[in-house]
């Protein structure tokens, strides 16, 4: 049975704009620790935070986060 997981491209998008985690955290109103946790896959952001991140990076939410099906 496939298990859906969240795959994030946040680190790639952030690096493309030459931003540090602290910069992105300040732009999206969160902390560097949360940005790090999202990039490492240890935290799934809320809809609100995902939208804030997308707005800060000027991309769509689907560019940052996608569903990745994985087999058991």
């Amino acid at each position: 049975m496939p298990i859906e997981r969240l795959r994030t491209h946040l680190k790639v998008q952030r690096a493309m704009r030459d931003l540090t985690q602290a910069d992105l955290a300040a732009m999206s109103g969160t902390t560097r620790k949360s940005i790090n946790a999202i990039e490492m896959g240890r935290m799934v952001p809320s809809t609100l935070l995902a939208l804030k991140l997308a707005r800060a990076l000027n991309v769509s939410v689907e560019t940052l986060f996608v569903l990745a099906d994985a087999e058991d």
Partner: protein, 172 residues
């Protein structure tokens, strides 16, 4: 208004100013987090000391410490109410403006909220778990203030487990 400009905008500034701005942004939130954790450690220590003192005064009600500390413990709920009112007033009104966005970011951080929820759950289940343990333990002991001891220990366990769990889950 954004708290800090993006890297592209800071590139227009002299290098030292841009570097300082970026370091300032990082320093403020990290400093706020550090201060918050120190405050929580102090609160944990204070609650532990007061709670142990309260339990001991209930277990040994005839001691002189219980006699003199009774009026002091009656002031504790008043102090807690004042602390809560002061804390809420500092987070709302004139203090909660755009300049305090780092404070807002730290307090409403999602990772911190997840840690808070874990701490609430741990405290709740620990308070539930200590009820049968206290019940069996206290019925076998010749104590007069059993309900007070049970209530004090329950609150002490809940508060300590909450703060300890939160500090462990939210560590940098």
């Amino acid at each position: 208004m954004r708290y800090i400009s993006s890297t592209r905008e800071t590139r227009r500034l002299p290098t030292t100013v841009a570097t300082t701005m970026k370091h300032d942004a990082l320093d403020v939130t990290e400093t706020l987090t550090c201060f918050a954790r120190r405050g929580l450690w102090l609160a944990l220590l204070l609650i532990l000391l007061l709670g142990v003192y309260a339990v001991l005064t209930n277990v040994f009600p005839q001691s002189s410490a219980a006699h003199y500390g009774g009026w002091l413990m009656s002031l504790l709920p008043i102090a807690i109410v004042f602390a809560i009112v002061w804390l809420r007033s500092s987070l709302h009104g004139e203090n909660a403006n755009a300049a305090n966005s780092p404070m807002h970011a730290v307090l409403h951080d999602e990772l911190r909220q997840i840690s808070l929820h874990k701490a609430y759950r741990a405290a709740f289940f620990s308070m539930l778990l200590c009820q049968p343990i206290l019940g069996f333990t206290l019925t076998s002991m010749p104590l007069s203030a059993t309900p007070q001891i049970m209530a004090t220990v329950t609150v002490l366990v809940g508060a300590c487990v909450f703060l300890t769990t939160f500090l462990l889950c939210d560590r940098p």
